[in-house]
Symmetry: D2
Subunit: 339 residues, 4 copies
């Protein structure tokens, strides 16, 4: 099972090292470590099967990070931020390039993902999330059930433009292609470089999820089989807006963990006092700023990045979280018929 982390703030950039590497439970360390507050109390009926769904301990199949910069906009190529990609297959804490990039780069929007390859999918940087489609980035934690059996049917659903942008071989990237196919259908050929209202993105994602469930039902149904449930914890951004869902099409089983915080960014920023989890970090000019001076921000992550439980809430099952350019967080149910 993979893990992912998303940071967004229109006013307060974070240092990549502060959010991805230094915390005791940073994503770069989640390759062999779990921290899941609220979760086991959330549903007392948790089955052994479900615990194991959420607890495969290792994510050693590669890290991907994207962050947004204004460089191309400054050179007249576009308006608004665009994503830069760094991906690798090694242990993140043993990669001096990742450490150098993270130590010297700040950004208003950061997506990071560590992979535990499912099935026999190729382990290659092209299969590391996040996947970029023009100005948009997409990442996924979970599994599209029966992917081997439905992938050719999914591929046929994709528009030519979306299909040619799918470079790897994962269920996740194909699902992204399906989402962008529906978005392109609605918004036209500039879909890749334009921004879109969050509601429209939510509709297209729901349509893509529903199509996957329908194909599973159809294709397995022909052989008299019933599909297993799929876990689809997904985040999408254009660098200024964020949409995430925590989803599993099952009436009792839960999706993997997914947490939301609008406060943890303060503790994760060395400009600010009191970061209980950044032990060992010399933050130089201490108290550069007061805690209340920190800009509005949102973090959504598979596991909390700080140990202050009160800063994190578990996103309910089959909920969608939308964060606009005004940094207002809205919740809405994922509207997909489950069976």
């Amino acid at each position: 099972m993979c893990r992912w982390f998303a940071y967004l703030s229109t006013t307060e950039p974070c240092l990549l090292e502060d959010v991805l590497i230094l915390p005791d439970h940073a994503i770069a360390k989640q390759v062999h470590d779990r921290y899941l507050p609220h979760l086991f109390h959330y549903d007392p009926g948790t089955t052994q099967r479900e615990i194991s769904l959420r607890n495969s301990p290792f994510n050693l199949d590669g890290l991907g990070v994207i962050w947004y910069t204004d460089a191309r906009a400054a050179f007249g190529e576009c308006t608004g931020p665009r994503p830069v990609t760094y991906k690798m297959l090694r242990q993140p804490t043993a990669d001096p390039i990742f450490q150098s990039l993270a130590a010297h780069t700040s950004a208003h929007c950061v997506f990071a993902h560590i992979r535990a390859a499912s099935g026999a999918t190729a382990i290659t940087t092209y299969n590391n999330h996040p996947f970029t489609f023009g100005r948009h980035a997409f990442m996924h934690n979970g599994v599209v059930a029966h992917y081997d059996e439905i992938k050719r049917a999914m591929a046929l659903e994709l528009s030519d433009e979306a299909h040619v942008r799918v470079k790897g071989t994962t269920d996740s990237e194909m699902l992204a292609g399906l989402f962008f196919t529906y978005l392109e259908e609605k918004k036209g050929q500039n879909v890749w470089e334009d921004q879109h209202p969050l509601e429209e993105m939510k509709e297209c994602l729901e349509r893509a999820v529903a199509k996957v469930l329908q194909l599973q039902k159809e294709i397995l149904g022909r052989a008299g089989r019933t599909p297993e449930a799929s876990s689809l914890n997904i985040a999408i951004t254009d660098g200024e807006q964020l949409l995430a869902i925590r989803f599993r099409n099952h009436d009792t089983e839960h999706p993997p963990s997914l947490y939301l915080s609008t406060r943890a960014g303060v503790a994760l920023n060395r400009k600010f006092p009191g970061h209980p989890d950044l032990e060992g970090v010399d933050n130089g000019v201490q108290n550069l700023k007061g805690e209340d001076e920190h800009g509005d921000h949102v973090i959504i992550a598979s596991e909390p990045t700080t140990f202050r439980k009160e800063d994190w809430e578990l996103i309910p099952k089959n909920q969608c979280v939308m964060v606009g350019r005004d940094m207002v967080v809205r919740h809405a149910p994922v509207e997909v018929k489950l069976y």
Copy 2:
């Protein structure tokens, strides 16, 4: 033989893609391509040996790039820019990570280097230049003659602080360690994070070069042998100042090529009109700026990055070029006794 490229401007950032990848003769393409104006006319007595010294056609043993960011300064860790490192062993034009970083990153100071490993030195990213020592970066094109025979004597000259910072196994990084040992001797333990006057850096580099020549003479002399000449084309920066030398301790043979330009940056910046060498680049909002609005800048490179010969001058043999924070370029002879 390696190749390197340095860009510095206190006012005009360049897009990495514009200087390192897109030009027809960008350093990312110098892995299998040569362009050496002025050079063969410079010295009609060029011997075959010398032509071959300057012409080993392939540089396939890895690329290194550093650029400076203000991120750590903004987070209270230091004052002034600090270097970020990206290094890899693959063909640069086949590396999607390098392409993504270069497309979305701009900087006021960029060093890039492609390596052709000499002798049997390990081919590993740790041996790719540039080497960073605190806020400073160092790169080299050429060879320290007889390095295998003098390296242990060189190592003994290094201060403990410099020695522990040498992570790889090249002649170049050991020479950098010697340079920083002398700078530390002169400037004290803050040498790594301070800026230093260019004259002092020149003195320390000359002292390091002289020490290498002396060790060669002593150690080979014991066996009745005469050392071969060394080629030392070196660039050093702290992100705001630049020092470079083109050096070979031989009375008729020349060092590898090294060129200087204070104009080519305009043609290499897509914000500006008329870049004859950027064919195929769509610079979007054309004529974003007028040619005379481009900031003062300096490029020093093993080979010209544009084909407008009049924009480039060959740096004379055994000369030092110093560029201060005021972007004024000064020339001075390298003061090392050659034999």
Copy 3:
């Protein structure tokens, strides 16, 4: 354009280093070197377009090698040799692992391939040829024209068993999947681990090629377009038999070069005297064997590996070469309707 090399002998193993690295024109050096005897005299009407088809000078996107061992047979897992795979993305001559493996490994069957990625296909080891399917190996030089437009239709043709074995994203591996689908249809579910008569393999390969041409015609025809020709130089082995074709579906244009030799293996084996192309090789105990003691063998390669032209013949356009366990070489036309 890629390059490939195949060696087969039931009695005379070759040292990988002798055939892949040491010769002046070994495949490991064909990353930036061409040698094409007979070819330009073969067809005086060669057009500029065709010369460029055959001459893209660089193959820097990765090397793949398979060789066959009897280890699994010795441990009771199967009968007959099985393929081992080594693939990497670096310059072959700068990879110490490849050099170590090649220096210490001999085999009766070796396939090697260097890649120049076509189009925007991912550069990853999974896309390096040869591709293995059970005991069989498959490699390709050339391009399936219009692959982006026909790949989903091709995927639908594949059997589930073949489809799940396609791990990468190239036209070549999908074509291999199509060939094995037809072979599976004919030979049943043990197709992967069984040996098959060369005639049956030829039929299935012809059927796969014909299907590709038909899909191109159908899919482009819907838009009123005419497909370009495809180049399909393909080799297939089970470790004891070899089938190769040199094919282009065009009445005047030619496929890439492809040569056959039944003598060059002597010069490429250090046990034997007189290897004109192995300068610099110390073959230790000289004249270990006499030239006529060398076992029957066949080499098929994109370019000759030795410079003794008389040892190599150009395989005619649209011909198939079949080599059985008796090492007898048979030629037959590729029977595919071209338009």
Copy 4:
């Protein structure tokens, strides 16, 4: 802390997959798993410090494997087996090349090592053990204490021939260089390709260890400091003989674990019945051989590779194990003055 595994048998080759990958506690899985029978009962006075010395749980900094082949001997280059090297930096179970090599390669002598880099040493394949010096291979688990402070003094002790063969930057490879320097002093310039009596190798290894302890004492002594103890679990082979030590120069602290077995190879070989630890392995033609038909063999490893405790004995502290071409195992104390 690293882990290593050594297999030697003059008569019974092992399949690499059987010994390195398939067992539940194979070295490829020891990146995040510990199994230490006998050890905690061995010394009831085990301190917390010592437990942590032996228990750093992760070895993620790279795998190295060497195995011996007769290929070069068959091609007249030498007599006797020579080592092939495979090294990489990724998670072993996620590397398809390693899996392919291991599935199809058998050998009479195999060394394997997983690394947990100590200090700030570069993480590069050149620093992965085993290190080869001509026909010999050398690997180490533990740390040369104070290496940064003594390494230049160690380097000065090396012969030119040994020094030039040290390609990486680890304490372990420098110690190997010192061992071979003393062996060269005793046996002359053919040291690299000759076999040597185990007693002579033991003497040279003891001399190298003693020199390290002396340099630590001298160099730290100048500053009034007392050296910490060093752990030196070392294995050396020429493909037909094996020498190993389990050593720590401390009167109460113990070296890392090191086990010996002369029986476990049967359970690790799929030709033989009853391999309790190879669950999930289909060994095809079952009962290919009877248990007593297995050849004499020796395994020495940081941790047992099977869970049959009775097949493994813990090598006592500061003992040397020597295995000759006759497969007789001899024990002798390591004769080095400890303080």
